[in-house]
Amino acid sequence: MNTKGILQRYFEFKEQSLSRLRQQGYFDRCKIQVGSATCENASGAEAVYREFDKMIKASGRTDILLHKTGCTGHCSSEPIVGVFKPGEIPVKYGEVTAQKAFEIFTSHVQGHSGPVVDMILDKKTDRLYRNEFIFCGRGSQCEGANDKLAAVFQEKLNQRGLGDQVKIGSGVCLGLCAEQGTPVSPACFVFPERIFYGNIQESDLDEIIDSHIEKRQLVSRLEVSFDKIHNHFFDHYGDVEYFNHQLRLTLKNCGVIDPESIDEYIYYRGFEAAAKVFENDTAETIIDKILKSGLRGRGGGGYPTGFKWRNTYLAKGDEKFIVCNADEGDPGAFMDRSMLEGDPFSIIEGMLIGGFTINAKKGYIYIRAEYPLAIKRLENAITLAREFGFLGDNILGSGYSFDIELRLGAGAFVCGEETALIHSIEGLRGMPRPRPPYPSVSGLWGCPTMINNVETLANVPVIMLDGPQWFASIGTQNSKGTKVFALAGKINQTGLVEVPMGTTLRDIIFKNGGGIKNNKKFKAVQTGGPSGGCLPEQFLDTIVDYDSLTQAGSIMGSGGMIVLDEDDCMVDIAKFFLDFTQNESCGKCTPCREGTMRMLEILQRITEGKGTMDDLTKLERLGNLIKRASLCGLGQTAPNPVLSTLRHFRDEYVEHITNKRCPAHRCQNLLRYNINPDKCVGCTACARVCPVRCISGSPKKVHEIDQQKCIKCGMCYETCKFDAIDKL
């Protein structure tokens, strides 16, 4: 195989892409960027897009580019609109409506009175700062030093009366030190100049203020260069607090590129990793790099990706396959959807490199049919990649041929398990089978098959471009790189956060997620979806990596993170998950099919107030048995939500059983509504809404609820304007 000239051909391609982008005015027009993804559209992004389109046409201006991107994962503030004027600080607006779009357009884009400050994303600021300094922070070894310096800096700025013009923030470890070879801490990133300062001493701060802030002259002796593939995300969004606490390696293009434009992907070094690998690497060197990077499967299992690649490479067989597992079934996890909708080309490139390594001619993406937009974008990306010669015969003249086919799931959670997934692609019932043989030896149609998760594959181009050593410098001893978490539930900022492994749960929930909604009390965090567990407050300082979470009694899983507050009943949550797994159990093996059903029945009893203390022992025994005896991962992990809540919230189970009370007032059968005679004014509102007419009392007299007839629907409780009904 003649591998010379592949990179050169790639750069020729890239030049063509750039010239097309230049023609569109991609680099010098004012860009209005509107998010476009399932979640963005659901919150009204399409209407906002149309509104901008209308206004641009009406204004007759040709120097404005209306740009569509995927979602940034900042769900609670969607739709998000960015205004990127050449040479100015990028401004992002949150929760934009068609009405607000008009204001943004006239005031900011047309320039009548500058940015609309009170609509800026996160509303953490009432002004646009002159400069922003984001110091390296969490996840780095130098955290303390940076924080201390930042504090001194803030003090000095305040003294000089610049405190309200310059913003000091703290970010995550960007991996700057590992890149430079020597520590450059303390270091910071500066907006709007978008440069890095490193090795900053306290004595340098005055110079930064005098020169950089006052005179707008860079302090060049402190400048450090840092060229990493994910930089552009920080460039676009690093000034927003939600994003500067994140390190975006796999989500680097989400919210930056138009997911339907291969030119934009190429502009941000898309397919460069593949071209480099084709020119310089062999299967052995690629596997070596993946092993060195320490990358582990992001789908839940955490199996070292390098081992998987090596096993498939070494397996005997004329035909081999690579499969991307995009059957994101965990309720509460949506990082794969966001990646596929916002940056589908990265997954294709990851598969291309993987396919090249094991010499597969064909790859499959197995995706849930519940994600119609992701499917559409993937189909488009595959078509474009074929047109541009990144898929098909003799890719970039390397002699290597590879193509990708989409296969849609049909709504079966168990198909996320690899052997079940194989059966589903083969057109059969998606049932798992015992392993070994592992798919790497005998998978699709008996051929060696390498199955990787979406997020795992998205890491591959990053490792190839930025180097395995650099990648391995991020994270903890046994868990390298970053992990995307889907924050949801009772949290202020729901959405996707990508943080270095080793970040604490507390940081993710309170710094990234902005804490608990409505100032309620944190109760537990559920990680790992239906296979994971609930961790209470005393575990908040647990760091997230594969091993620590397992030790604490939960799992990393695919990265779903549901935050629960004092109003959530842990027995009810355990029942919810078990109901899910019981429903999704494929029925092949008895422990999972029958066992989960029996456990669910016991939980049902407890939530109805019919449980006995003996039931708790039964739950534990049965749970451990199901874990040991089930055929596949679904059954082996199904009891986890119950076992972990039993371990950490046993009191609550006991309360349900002995006192027939649900402390969180969630379990309907255990509720009791009482009318407080001191507060009731006899307005009759409750009696009128009661569907079973069990409230008696005449006007202006205290009412009473007949507990025998009450169905505990809660209508009276919600209707009462005088707060006179107590929920017990």
């Binding site: 399932t38 979640c39 559209n41 659901a42 919150s43 769900c75 609670s76 969607e78 994101e328 079934g329 965990d330 309720p331 509460g332 996890a333 949506f334 959807r337 049919a369 519940e370 994600y371 119609p372 296969r407 849609l408 799931g409 049909a410 709504g411 079966a412 959670f413 589903s424 692609i425 083969e426 057109g427 059969l428 019932r429 998606g430 049932m431 149609w445 889907a486 949801a488 539930g489 009772k490 729901t494 959405g495 559920q526 979806g529 779903g560 549901i562 629960l564 959530d568 949550i573 919810f576 998950f577 899910f580 999704e584 494929c586």
Partner: protein, 164 residues
């Protein structure tokens, strides 16, 4: 419902063409799920006679076709309403009150989960996480996602579809 299920359909020429094109490819039996998905896209469910015809054309035993059709949640064996209402009961939606939204749909439409209204307008379904947890609770009607739905919104949503 049983009566309409005995209605006679035949595979459209488009579907026959698709099945034939699948047969040209390696491992063509693996396209069974794709074929069934296309049938459902057209008819809204999988009529028995079409499953039998598919079995014949694709060379897969009828028992296997039934096996697949009954295994996956997405396949429906009975006629469905014009619009499918999917109430997300994923974790995030659940903790944010999806159950109450579901109850509101049930009482307004007077049907239970997996049932269809008599006028064949709506089929009510409970979905497993549609992946927009940030906007919980979420309801998906056909391919449109409704965010942060409250029980009070339900009637407005239903009316919108009834009138269109």
């Amino acid at each position: 419902m049983d009566v309409s299920n005995k209605e006679k359909f035949t595979l459209s020429s488009e579907l026959i063409e698709y099945i034939d094109s699948c047969k040209q490819q390696a491992h063509f039996k693996s396209f069974l799920i794709n074929v069934l998905q296309r049938i459902q896209d057209i008819h809204g469910y999988l009529p028995q006679c079409l499953m039998e015809e598919t079995a014949l054309r694709l060379g897969v035993p009828t028992a296997k076709v039934y096996g697949v059709a009954t295994f996956y949640h997405m396949f429906r064996l009975e006629p469905q309403g014009k619009h499918t209402i999917n109430i997300c009961l994923g974790t995030a939606c659940y903790v944010k009150g999806a159950q109450r939204v579901l109850d509101a749909f049930k009482s307004h439409l007077n049907i239970d989960i997996d049932e269809t209204t008599e006028d064949l307008m709506f089929t009510l379904k409970a979905a497993r996480c549609v992946g927009t947890c940030g906007l919980a609770p979420v309801v998906m009607i056909d391919n449109d996602v409704y965010a942060k739905v409250t029980p009070e919104d339900v009637l407005t949503i239903i009316t919108k579809y009834r009138q269109s």
